[in-house]
């Protein structure tokens, strides 16, 4: 099984972690042993569950917005040169601004509540989808346009039957990046505007000097990220069968 090697390394790391705690005098506040983290996980499953769902909700809404928005923007930009020339450089430039710096500003503008957290998530995951979709649409190539013209296809038909399917593998590549970024974005949103969620738990663990809580929340975050990423991969497997056959 493919998972054996990564799992083996993981187990090894945990063993080393345990050994380090056991053999040195490290303060449990700085690095709690694996058992403490395990306790935290096992004793309060409800706490992690409900906070995970809160984070998950933000991730999914933000990701959906960036997916739909990114694809729509890419389609418009490919269709209308003027839009591309005007807005694509702006989109690229906006990536230079660290989202974590924008997050507090969004709280000021959008108030407390879910909105700024969703906005941060959507913003951070928008760009990979946009740029990948644009690339995919532009890669179609002259011979396909000739083919479309020779069989009398209208621009819309050409888009539906040739350009969009061609871009699908690219969209999924962007989506895989975007979903992982969305998780990061949701946590950044929670750091800045803490009400609930796994990011909120990390902050609480920090302020209450419960490092094991922080680590436990990280475990849940990692799990969530992995599951979401693989769900996108699964969707790709189903929707883009032709790339598989290579």
């Amino acid at each position: 099984m493919r998972l054996v090697k990564p799992l083996a390394v993981l187990v090894l790391l945990i063993v080393l972690w345990w050994l380090y705690c056991h053999l040195t005098d490290i303060d449990p506040l700085v690095l709690p042993p694996p058992s403490a983290v395990w306790e935290s996980l096992v004793h309060q499953p409800g706490l992690f569950w409900s906070n995970s769902l809160d984070t998950l909700r933000i991730v999914l809404i933000g990701f959906s917005i960036s997916l739909l928005g990114g694809v729509a923007a890419a389609v418009l930009m490919t269709r209308y040169r003027l839009l591309e020339e005007t807005f694509l450089p702006l989109a690229v430039a906006s990536q230079v601004i660290p989202t974590i710096a924008v997050a507090p500003l969004l709280v000021i503008w959008m108030g407390f509540g879910q909105a700024p957290r969703i906005a941060v998530t959507a913003l951070i995951s928008f760009f990979p989808i946009l740029i990948n979709t644009v690339t995919g649409l532009k890669q179609v190539g002259e011979p396909y346009y000739d083919l479309a013209a020779s069989i009398g296809a209208s621009k819309n038909t050409r888009f539906r039957k040739i350009e969009f399917p061609h871009a699908l593998p690219f969209i999924f590549a962007g989506a895989k990046m975007a979903i992982t970024l969305a998780v990061i974005g949701a946590v950044i949103g929670e750091f800045v505007n803490a009400e609930s969620g796994l990011g909120f738990l990390i902050l609480r663990g920090s302020s209450q000097l419960e490092t094991q809580l922080m680590l436990a929340a990280l475990v849940w975050l990692a799990g969530m990220g992995l599951i979401l990423f693989n769900l996108v991969r699964l969707a790709e497997y189903v929707a883009v069968p032709w790339e598989r056959r290579r």
């Binding site: 479309a148 020779s150 069968p241």
Partner: protein
Amino acid sequence: MAAITPILEIRDVVKDFTPKGKVIRAVDGVSLSLAQGEFVSIVGPSGCGKSTVLRMVAGLTGATSGEISLRGTHIAGPRPEVGIMFQSPVLLPWRSVLKNVLLPSETQRLGGDPRREAMELLEVAGLAGFENHYPSELSGGMQQRVAMCRTLLRQPDLLLLDEPFGALDSITREILNDELLRIARLRDMTVLLITHSIDEAVYLSDRVVLMSSRPGKVTGEWAIDMPTERSLETRELPAFGRYASDIRESLGIAHRGDDH
């Protein structure tokens, strides 16, 4: 011999391209007529404008001046009676072979039963059993056969071919040459073929036309007088060799004639 009305008329066609303000004359007054059922090849050095001529006949670009008409009607854009095949198969990788062949039936209304027609075409092309395969699973030659079936789905009268076999090995090329000829004769199609291979041109055609390098003009025409039945023996005939070397010689002159 009674006068044969041309099905395709290309008259004094000129094509200029204007990249960044400069004017580049790709085609400089080309005239050519094709009669119903004729198989004509255009050969010439790279960049001589032969592909441009084909694209104009296909309605993919317009002529700067001159006239191209099919059965008397001016060609202003792509037409269902005109089918075109390119050097690369341009198949859609996400569709099966059958769905690729059926593509023209989705963009224009075709009479009859396109699906049955597609299956028949695939069988004639030797691809029976491959309907549900994907292009990536086929060899280059097979992909071009699928492209050929797709082009033939609309039953065009005029078939335009832009070096369709250029990317294939010579064995596959010769096999597909024969298939093309067979299908063209079966359906009484008029064919205009662009090729770099003089042997291919002589083998397949009733007439071979030579174009000079840019700006392209017709500098030679050969009526190929050989038995209609083309086969391996055809390539051994002394006449074949004579035509081929004649054209090759003229091509050398046409090629040297450019000063780029």
